[in-house]
């Protein structure tokens, strides 16, 4: 009864059947939740791409084409602050994860608009470079590879602390050629000191312009975990249902075994690498959002009107957020040095924060 169901836009859909994908399924209600979040993440990214072209922002990089994996990831994170909760060393394409965790679209737009109110970086960093201390989202860093060496550190504290908090680290396929990827495997499997690290490689088949198959001979990236005894699986990252279950399995393993696990998610890159390569819509790769929408309509839990309403609501949300962000204060010359140093009782030159080079008067 699609018509009836759409009137409530998902409310009461608990009665609907599970949505099946291959050997896996998820309740319809969950699927609709994922779908709405995917739409919001995609719409936010597309609005940001426009900002990069209109001059309301500069560089754009992000995750259109990864939502089917990143949203289920965000929904399953044990969200909170400190070692009892999951730590996230994210890639710059993880906006779907942040939206699923509850980040307001406005906060993403603020970073793109470089406002002082940007809670992630105060207008300092590129878009998608999140940092949310309340949720253990560590500052996203453009430097490829370094996530892999920082992750064992948070996991080391979690292992010692006890509980079931894990460290989630995400990187692209090309970046696994950095030695840091190897470091992560060595450091998380030291005999007797194995660490709860969930290693996630988002394999979109490219590093900027270089196809993976021209540089890598390994069949699967997860195969590189085998000599370290790191179990892993390749998942269709365009399928949110398959992704949900792969993440669920991986998290269960890492939370309980306190050892690393690797997921390689095969995903698309729907606007190329970044605004530097034009951020033009790619037509020859799978679009997880369109596929999932189609699937939900086929299954009868959504119809085209309802889907259109969801898209429209997301667009309105983004327009409102942009309007708001553009009204907000920008950083000023007086803010350049702020937040360099934490205040210290042991420093006689910069007890509060950096104030420029010391003066002798």
């Amino acid at each position: 009864m699609p018509r009836e169901l759409t009137q409530t836009e998902g409310n009461g859909l608990a009665l609907a059947a599970d949505i099946v994908s291959g050997e896996y399924s998820l309740p319809a209600e969950r699927c609709l939740e994922i779908f709405r979040l995917m739409v919001r993440a995609r719409t936010m990214e597309e609005r940001m791409i426009k900002m990069s072209k209109s001059g309301e922002g500069y560089f754009w990089i992000g995750g259109p084409g990864e939502e089917a994996f990143n949203v289920p990831l965000g929904l399953q994170v044990k969200k909170g602050r400190g070692p009892d909760y999951d730590f996230l060393h994210l890639h710059y394409r993880n906006s779907g994860t942040l939206i699923a965790m509850g980040m307001p679209v406005l906060d993403g737009i603020r970073q793109m608009a470089m406002t002082w109110t940007d809670p992630h970086s105060r207008g300092r960093n590129f878009v998608g470079h999140y940092s949310v201390p309340e949720w253990n989202v560590l500052p996203v860093c453009s430097v490829i590879g370094v996530n892999w060496v920082k992750a064992p550190g948070t996991a080391h504290v979690q292992k010692r602390h006890g509980g079931d908090g894990i460290t989630i680290v995400v990187g692209g396929d090309a970046g696994t050629a950095e030695g840091d990827f190897n470091s992560c495997m060595v450091w998380s499997t030291r005999p007797g000191h194995e660490l709860p690290v969930l290693m996630i490689v988002m394999n979109n088949g490219y590093g900027i312009s270089t196809p993976a198959y021209t540089q890598h001979s390994e069949l699967h990236i997860i195969d590189r975990g085998k000599p370290f005894g790191i179990p892993g699986e390749v998942v269709d990252g365009n399928d949110p249902i398959a992704s949900w279950h792969a993440i669920d399995r991986a998290m269960r393993y890492v939370r309980s075994e306190r050892r690393p696990y690797m997921i390689e998610a095969l995903v698309s890159r729907l606007y190329g690498h970044s605004s530097s390569s034009g951020a033009m819509r790619v037509r020859d790769e799978r679009d997880c959002l369109a596929e999932f929408e189609h699937k939900l309509i086929e299954a009868g839990v959504l119809d085209e009107e309802a889907a259109a309403r969801i898209h429209k609501a997301a667009q309105d949300e983004c327009e409102k957020a942009l309007e708001q962000a553009l009204k907000e204060p920008k950083p000023t010359a007086a803010d350049v040095r702020r937040f360099t140093y934490a205040s210290s009782d042991y420093d006689v030159v910069y007890p509060d924060d950096y104030t420029g080079l010391p003066n002798g008067d």
Partner: protein, 352 residues
């Protein structure tokens, strides 16, 4: 009196006992060795890592994010070069996140020449380090300062790099560390691991006390009105010796400033001394092109051009690819006592 390296060990013991240090780690840092220079023998939180400097710095950052207080060691600063991007990131985490995250890590590493270390055990690091905004960089020249700077490095909630002058690690201090036993042999018996089998060995820690050397505070170790010498690390005791010799031989008296903190640096101490003497020499052993001493010289010229009686100068290591093993190479490429004394005398006696 404790040696400089014993002082570091005592400070780390104090740190893990009273200042919340959770992890002390690096290559060969844990038992049985306790560090190639013995800086970490007997410490309860010391552990061995894989031979992976990037992994070491990444581990430190991760521990700090998660609320721990790590002290990591890079075995020789010569092997820190492949971590420089991670150092940059550690230094920018607070700034990059608009204050969302702090990075309370301590990185200690032996630096400089003087142990016949040839090409890959003689590098200096302070000029590289001084370019890492967001960090604080210190370099003690004696045991007591090593103790006090290490405690401040641990207590400060920012990334702090402690550069340990390799050549001075075994040099005994002239001042006692608070709580150190009177008898240095007794200290050795208490905290130095025995040579040979160490299974079952436990240190007996003396009741060392809190003693902070503030970051950014220089020490005026000799006073004199003829000229100013600024140095730190290995070359500092050489400047002091040269000053004493020139006082006795030529009646020349120097302000000798031990900078101790490379960043932040005690500009006030330098500035005040220049106002008194009008003559300044900066001595360190790092290579001379884009040397931290050149930065100080720039400040001197900017602020004191009209206060100077003679040209300000530097005495630095030569800009060559390495320090050679035959001592002729080392002697003739990094400042030694004779060249320091000569430069100081020339500075103090040049006609204004």
């Amino acid at each position: 009196m404790a040696t400089l390296v014993q002082a570091v060990r005592l400070a780390l013991h104090y740190g893990e006992t009273y200042l919340g240090v959770t992890d002390i780690f690096g290559e060969d840092v844990g038992p049985p060795l306790g560090g190639v220079f013995t800086a970490t023998q007997g410490l309860k939180t010391a552990w061995n890592t894989p031979l992976d400097e990037r992994g070491i710095l990444g581990m430190a950052m991760g521990i700090a994010y998660a609320g721990g207080r790590p002290v990591c060691e890079i075995q020789f600063c010569d092997y820190a070069f492949n971590t420089i991007d991670l150092m940059k990131i550690a230094g920018n985490q607070r700034w990059a996140s608009g204050g969302n995250y702090e990075m309370p890590i301590v990185l200690m590493t032996p630096s400089g020449s003087g142990i016949r270390g040839s090409l890959y055990h003689s590098h200096s690091f302070e000029s590289w380090a001084s370019r890492l905004a967001g960090w604080k960089i210190v370099m003690p020249s004696n045991a007591l300062d090593a103790y006090g700077l290490m405690l401040s490095a641990i207590a400060d909630p920012n990334p702090v790099m402690v550069l340990l002058p390799k050549a001075l690690l075994r040099v005994r201090g002239e001042q006692k560390i608070p709580g150190e036993p009177e008898d240095e042999e007794e200290l050795k018996r208490m905290i130095d691991a025995p040579v040979g089998d160490r299974t079952g060995w436990q240190p007996r820690w003396p009741p060392v006390q809190e003693y902070f050397v503030p970051l950014g505070k220089a020490a005026l170790v000799r006073t004199g009105h003829h000229a100013t010498v600024v140095s730190y690390g290995r070359t500092l005791p050489l400047c002091v010796k040269a000053a004493d010799e020139l006082r006795d031989s030529d009646g020349l008296e120097f302000d000798v400033i031990d900078l101790r903190s490379i960043f932040p640096y005690d500009w006030h101490a330098i500035s005040q001394s220049i106002m008194k003497t009008g003559r300044i020499l900066i001595v360190n052993e790092d290579t001379e092109v884009t040397n931290f001493g050149e930065h100080l010289l720039r400040r001197v010229i900017d602020h004191h051009y009209y206060d100077l009686l003679v040209r300000p100068r530097v005495l630095l290591g030569q800009h060559i690819p390495g320090i050679g093993l035959n001592q002729e190479y080392e002697k003739n490429s990094v400042p030694q006592l004779p060249s320091i004394r000569e430069a100081m005398k020339a500075l103090a006696t040049e006609e204004a």
